[in-house]
Each structure stands twice: as C-alpha cells, then as structure tokens.
Symmetry: C2
Subunit: 437 residues, 2 copies
C-alpha cells in the first residue's frame, strides 16, 4: 500500500494530453466494480431516476460494487445558463461553475433517495466530497487527481456511491467544471482510478452510429469500435461521447459501453482494437458544421513560425481544428490554413490580425461558412483507395472540396457549409456503411 | 491577534441555547461592516436580484464592507421538496440537505453575476467554502463555528461577499442545513462574528406587525422592538423572523433591521430595550394554529417526573410548545398538559402511551384541534391588568379558554382552533394595538 496509486491517481495538468504522466496502472479490486453513468435524459424525471436506480441495484445484487455518475436532469444546465444570461451578459466563469454544479447536485441527491426508497444503501457525493481535484480553469478544468479514500470507505460499507458528474474542486476549494458533456469524463476517470471492469454510459441513443442518423437515415449502429476510431470520430464531430472520457478508457483499458437507458439491448462497446475490427477500412463518417477557416499568406518558411502562430492562438484558449500548410516561392514562403469553430472566429481574427502585423505576413483571408466531412477507421492504415473513393463520391455529387487533411486513420475534406449534409450522405453511401461488415 | 476570536467564533452545540458559551465578544472592524440578507421573494427573478445587488453596491459606495446572505429564489425550496417527494416518501435527511442546499447556491452565483455586471467585485461562497461549521443533525443542524479567514480575505480584497444562507458543513464535510427559514440565522450569526454595525433582513413585508395583517386588517407596523419581545413573538407564532437569528442579535447586540426589499422605507428595528419601548404593556399579539394538546393525568408529584417525561419527548425530536401543570389530591398528583404542533401529534402520542404504561399514570387525553393566542410585550413586566383585559375580551367575544400559561412578558391562552382568528382580533382590539403608542 506504499504505492500512491492505492490512495489516488495523479493526472497531468492537461488530463487529455498527458495521460502518460499518470501514476498507473491501477490494481484491480477484489470485488468486481462497475461504473454506470446516466446522462440528463436518463434522469429527466422521477420515473427515469427510479429506472436508473433499478439498474444500479441490479448490478449490486449481481455481486458488484457500483459507482454511479449522474448528469443534471433533462435541460437543467441550459435552464441555469438561461438564468445566468438574464442576470449578466458576461458572467464570471467562477460564478458560472458555482451555478451549473447545482444541477448535478440535485440529481445525485434524488438518485440516492430513489435507491434508499428501494431498500438499498446509497450515498451521494459532490466533486468536493469525493475529492476530484482539478486545475483552476473554470468552465473547462482538467482533472488532476481523484482521491479514493472516501469512495473506498463508502463502497466497503456496502453502499452504492453516486458521484456528481462534470464537477470538481481546485486546490483552493473553488468549485470547477470540466466542460459541457464532461460527466462522461468523470465516469471514465473514476472507472480508471477504481479499476472498474466496465464503464457503462447510459444515454438516450442506443449506441454509436456510423454517422448522425438525423442527417443520414441509413446510419447503422456499430457493435464494437476501437478507442482510436472513437476518439477520431468524437474529435471529428460525433457528439455521442466526450473525447477525454475515451482517452481515460484507452489509457487504462477500461471498456466503455455506450447504451440506451430505456432498453436492455446492448449498445456499442468501445474497447481495445481487435483483429475483426480492421476489416472495414472506414467505420464511420462525421460532419462538423459551423466551422470557419483562416488562411495566413506569406508565412516565412523558417523553423518556429507555426509554433509562434499557434502559441498565440492557444494563449487565448481558441481551439484549432485542422491545420493545412502549403509552401510556394521555391519553398521560401507558405500559406497556412486552419479551421476554428465559427463561435471562435472573431477572437481568432483579432489574434491573426496582430500576427500579420507583427510577423509582417502578406495577409489573411477568412471563410466563415465551411463544414468538415471526415471518414474514420483504423482499417484505413492498411486499406488503399480510401481517398480516391471519398474524392470521387464528392465529385460525382457535385460537392467542391476546399481543403484536405489526413491523419493515420482519418481523411477530412472542408466543404461549403451548405454542402455538408449532402456530402455526409455521399460519403456514407460510398463506403457502404449502411451494411454491417 | 492571539485571541481565537480573531479567527472565528465558537458556538456551543446548540447555537440557540448556549450562546453564553461563545468565545465573545468580537472586536469591531475598522471599516464599518453591514450584513444584508435577502429572502426568497427578494431574489425571485433577475430583476429583483439586480435590485438587491444595487442595494449592496450602494452600501459599498457609502464606504462599508458588505456581506450578503441570500436565500433560494422564490419557491425553489418547495419545488425541490416536491421533487424529493416524487422520488421517495421518506427521503434520507442527509440527501434532503444535499438537495435543498442547491437552491441557495444558485442564488449566490446569480447575485455575484449581477454585482459583476454592475461593475463591482463580488464573490459567492457556499457554507462549506465560508467555513460555517455545524453539528451533524441533518435538516436542523446548529452552528458550531464560523471561520473568519476566507471572508476577511475577500473583504480585504474589496469584494462584496455573498454567502449561501441556511447551509453549513459538519466536521466530516457533510452538507447540512439549519432548518427552514434559517437564512436569517446565517445572517445574524455572520453579523455577530464579523462585528457588523447592523444586520438588515430584506423581505416581502415592510416590517414586524402588531399581529398578522392577513388575519387582523388593523395590524400596525412596529418601528422598534426589543430582542426579548421579538423572541417571544417569534416563539409564539410570528413568522417574520427565525428565533435563532434574534438570539444571535441579542447576544452580540447587533441591531436587526427587518425591512422591505421593494422600498426604501424603514422597517422594524430589533434592538436592545430602551425606555420608550416599555410604554405599551403589550406590543404584539400572535396566533399559533395547528396545535394539539396532550394531558397526562395522575402524574406523581415527585421530583424528576416532568424531567423524565420531557426527556423522552425530546429524545424523539418532538418540539413542545407550552407546558401547564396543576396539582390535585392534596398535592400528591398532578395533571400535566403540553402542546405540540399537530404534525408531531402522532409521534407525541406514541411516546406518551409508553410513558403512561411505564410510569403507571392514570391516563392520557388528547385534543387535536387547538390554537394559541398570545399577548407579548416587555412592558408587561411593570403593567398590571394585562391578564384581566385579555380574559375579558375573550369572554365578551364568546371564546372559551382551555389552558392559560404566562411568562414574564407573554400571556397565552389555548382556544379551540376555529376560534383562533377571532380571538386574535379580539385581543388586538382590546389592547388598542392599531393605534401607535
């Protein structure tokens, strides 16, 4: 027990980016442990809370230790944001966190009551009570450490432990939040720290789909998907799960089961890559709408130029999507294009205007109406012809491609925003994703 | 600064009953400090929150340090209780506290946003962040200690400090609440600890009235009232303020100003007794409805009998209102009558049935439909004829009196519940309370 991991797990300052700095691995508990996370729609009213409570109790009766992570009920978070908007156009982020964390606190209390009402022992814990330590970046804090002490004590007492998702505290005792949708992250981080056999994410869809079923009716549920493919799909716009949650699962090899809270049907298992998974070159296609792209022209092609530009952007907390650079002028200058969310465009333009002046660039051009279609799959590593299939499909459908970017398992094209949904359908069809592999 | 009071103030286990165990007195701050408490109706929506924020800012601009104590918005607490009721018929009290404290947390965050929006510095603090330590009796915890450390630091930084009323934490970090309406207690306790020049209680009425204006239209606002009279009025049913808040004010001589949040008109000042206050024998009359009375017959008139009975009742957390005892049988036996709230009657009956058996009493009788009319005033100490005025008024109005009890500044009569409102009117008229003294 001299191992610090026995008491908790340290995470680097940026939990998503420095998982390799964790103090892992974690020893498995002697009693199998399961983490179940219930999203907002799964706890939207008393009847659904009871339904979720029954699932937890069932797992307990099967001999497992059970930790629940619960989101705010239904549209609570949006309603609280609306209240804040009525009071202030630009509320301090610390106070936003103070406000928003009440949503999960309500849910955990009600969940504990529901389990008690069914005759079982349960206890609710806020992020502060659990000891979920984060940095101090309000509204987008990163997990630094999760204490096992309290949770172990409650589990040992035979209780179902109910943890408020999305929230933590910093070293000064300030209440922080991990970003919208980050209850998934809380669940996966807890599953990692506690050595859970599985992390179940209960939601209002029945799994991960090959693409957004609202845009492509032929979208098909995926039974098993690797952490890497899921990570790329989330990064490329699939809204079903938080990337940081998947990274926790990947690092600690905790399988994540995304499934419906309304049925017992299996959903999608996010897990370590296995042989069969690689059969299909492309497993999913995604669409990221509401992007904008900025091109900086005449960037001197010298070491450190890109670093200087993106450091300036990162310093203002603007998230950059894809980056594409082409050199010209015999390799002496480059055009550098990157995309950001449309919401960040104004800030990004201000930063770039400064850079153009300070670095004496030739200029900047902005396209504020683009979308990104991506094809994703670990099988892409070994399959050929993926790019030509995608480009041909878009060309035959009359969709013009602006920028192209690729990574090991992702192929992305920027298109006009209004072409986005059609492009998604074309690519989904081209890879035959409506048919099970 | 070696004085522990500089860091905080210890309160005995029962904050209301053992104020003399405090580590007082508290040194006055160099900058005048004011505590303003806003009740639920005073923060019911964004517009009212801004109005409250403006009051706080005005005090700040007048050169004062300002501490706000805020209740949950409007009917939030009732709505949360309704939610709990939908989930469980008998929710664990710990989880009720977890649930209910979210109401105040929402209010303090919004209040901080409103003050920021008006261009001033503010910070919200939960009970835990403030360091308001209580015992562990969930839903009716008592304050044990209030740490000054955090609040002093924030005030020194020039911030308006906004504290969540009604809540605290126990030594184990569990979230507790001080009982319904106890945001007043939080405010008065803070005013005491911080050596405030005044504790302002903003509410939806414009002060303390001679009686309940909904029952007696001639009720008149009282300009100044002593702590003692106010304490007795609160104990006898005046709902305007929490007794424990008044006790804090009395002990530390912090004037409490009960006033409307909608106007600038002065309300009622609760303060140390002064000469002019004693002119009227009776300052207010109150009605406590929904009482029940239990009579134990044939109690042996020996030392320790009453102690045994009321210890058994207190052990079950049943609050006893008045107690009346008459001896008979040449002083060998007594009849003991006490009243409890109708809600506690079932529990009280169970306890008394056990006592009748264990102590071999002659029997028990129950009246579940009584109300108590009380006349209160410090002037009663020196005035004569108060009792005869009250009894005559009731007799002439045809109201039968069940039990009579008196203390130094209170005269109470139990009457049939349906006679209550009329009895109140009769007594208010008899003492001429509609006319300013």
């Amino acid at each position: 027990m001299g191992n610090p991991v026995a008491k908790g797990l340290r995470v680097g300052a940026a939990d998503a980016l420095s998982l390799n700095r964790w103090w892992g691995p974690v020893s498995s508990p002697t009693v199998p442990l399961i983490v179940q996370k219930f999203g907002g729609t799964s706890v939207a009213n008393a009847e659904r809370i009871h339904r979720a409570a029954r699932r937890a109790i069932r797992a307990k009766l099967e001999g497992k230790q059970v930790v629940l992570v619960v989101s705010a009920m239904g549209h609570t978070t949006d309603e609280l944001l609306k209240l804040a908007g009525e009071v202030s156009a630009d509320p301090p982020k610390r106070e936003l966190d103070m406000l928003l964390t009440t949503g999960e606190q309500v849910s955990i209390a009600l969940m504990a009551m529901a389990i008690h009402a069914a005759g079982h022992e349960a206890i609710s814990l806020t992020g502060a009570q659990l000891g979920l330590l984060t940095d101090s970046v309000h509204t987008r804090a990163r997990i630094q450490r999760i204490s096992r002490e309290r949770i172990d004590r409650e589990l040992a007492a035979g209780r179902i432990v109910i943890v408020a998702g999305f929230q933590g505290i910093d070293a000064g005792g300030e209440i922080t939040t991990l970003g919208r949708g980050a209850s998934d992250t809380t669940a996966a981080a807890l599953a990692s720290v506690l050595g859970a056999e599985i992390c179940e994410i209960y939601t209002d869809v029945d799994g991960v789909y090959t693409t957004d079923p609202r845009l492509v009716p032929q979208a098909r549920k995926i039974d098993r998907i690797s952490y890497d493919t899921m990570l790329e799909m989330a990064a490329a716009g699939a809204a079903v799960m938080h990337s940081r949650a998947i990274e926790f699962g990947k690092k600690y090899r905790v399988p994540i089961h995304v499934r419906s809270s309304l049925t017992d049907a299996p959903g999608t298992l996010i897990m370590t890559e296995t042989k069969g998974m690689e059969d299909a070159a492309v497993q999913g296609v995604t669409l990221k709408q509401d992007l904008a792209s900025i091109t900086l022209a005449g960037v001197p092609n010298r070491p450190g130029m890109a670093a200087r530009i993106f450091s300036a952007i990162a310093a203002k907390n603007v998230l950059v999507d894809d980056i594409v650079q082409n050199v010209y002028d015999d390799g002496r200058q480059a055009n550098l294009t990157f995309s950001v969310s449309a919401a960040d465009l104004a800030e990004a333009k201000r930063i770039c205007a400064d850079l153009v002046r300070e670095m004496n660039l030739s200029g900047m051009s902005v396209d504020d109406g683009v979308a990104k279609v991506s094809a994703i799959g670990v099988g892409m590593r070994t399959a050929s012809g993926v790019a030509s299939t995608m480009f041909s499909a878009l060309a035959e459908g009359g969709v013009n491609i602006h920028n192209i970017s690729t990574s090991e398992i992702v192929l992305s094209c920027l298109v006009r925003r209004e072409d986005g949904p059609r492009a998604l359908q074309l690519v989904h069809d081209a890879f035959g994703l409506h048919v099970a592999p």
